[in-house]
């Protein structure tokens, strides 16, 4: 029987089987590997830039006023601002947003931001804004320096606006009493 019955599946069925198996294996491998395909990270454009045009720090009242200017090429929506209270402090970790009227609070997702206009990059190139910070009720006393990281809303792949931190445009300013 083994030698006489030489019939197997036909050529056509053989090809169909091969192609099907190849497609199934490719699909499995694709599903597994597709998460490893690197996509462009959601980052800030290179032309983002801000600077502190002038400031006024009243040490008696512990109030800081500064004018922030957008000297970049892109609209911004706000900034992260942190400070230090001594020259020996390497990293600015004091969150200063609770001390300004434009600071957000309450919601842990948006806490720690100073926002000009929510969901909108309203701070255009060349624009200036005057911000006031009142540290009277703060626990850290006088501040020594501030660090500002601009932020902007950018659409994600799902067409949702997400806050993007422009850490490459971070600025640091040492504050002295006026």
């Amino acid at each position: 029987m083994m030698f006489k019955n030489k019939k197997a599946v036909s050529n056509v069925i053989g090809y169909i089987l091969l192609v099907t198996i190849a497609i199934v294996i490719s699909t499995i491998v694709f599903q597994w590997m597709k998460t490893y395909v690197p996509t462009e990270p959601l980052g800030c454009p290179d032309g983002v830039s801000v600077f502190v045009k002038d400031y006024n720090y009243n040490c008696t009242k512990n109030q800081l006023n500064f004018t922030l200017t957008n000297n970049g090429r892109f609209n911004l929506s706000g900034y992260f601002i942190h400070g230090t209270n001594s020259s020996s402090q390497e990293l600015a970790i004091l969150d200063l947003t609770p001390y300004t009227p434009i600071g957000t609070g309450g919601n842990p997702d948006t806490e720690g931001l100073a926002i000009f206009n929510s969901e909108n990059n309203s701070f255009g190139p060349g624009a200036k804004t005057n911000n006031t910070f009142n540290f009277t009720n703060s626990s850290f006393g006088q501040i020594y320096s501030i660090e500002i990281i601009p932020i902007r809303y950018q659409p994600t792949n799902n067409n949702k606006n997400r806050i993007i931190s422009c850490s490459n445009a971070k600025i640091k300013e040492i504050i002295v009493c006026s």
Binding site: W32, P38, G112
Partner: protein
Amino acid sequence: MVNIKFLSKNRKAVSPVIATVLLIGLVLVITLIVFLWFKGLTQEAIIKFDKNVEIVCDEVQFETGYSNGILSISNIGNVPIYGIKVKISENGKYETKSLKDLSKWPSTGLNQGRTFSGDISANVISANSVTLTPVLVGSSKSGERTYTCNEARYGHVINL
């Protein structure tokens, strides 16, 4: 003698149908065993921002500082840092701990733009250096899972 006779004359075996069923059954069982074995070998993908969390580690940006026993961390990137693994090295030996166990790390992690500072002096009295490696959280088929980024690539070393 009887056995030889039986062997040489009774050539009947299982029918082709049963043989086919047996073959298919064997193939299915072996496939299942190989699949379960292979599944155990490969890690389940953890997804964050529609990408594998291993790739997201590339986007993590944070600054660190240490002064007078106070460890400071600032998340300046766009990826929330769920936790930090602290490798405390001391004269050739080391110990790895979670920053949650050493200090008051925020329970929701360190979102973008947020900072942390905590006293870890009691744990690093005679240490030579500490290496801080970010831990991210992502979703997988079995729910939310954490992933520790590669220490050699993404770890921040602070010499004490």
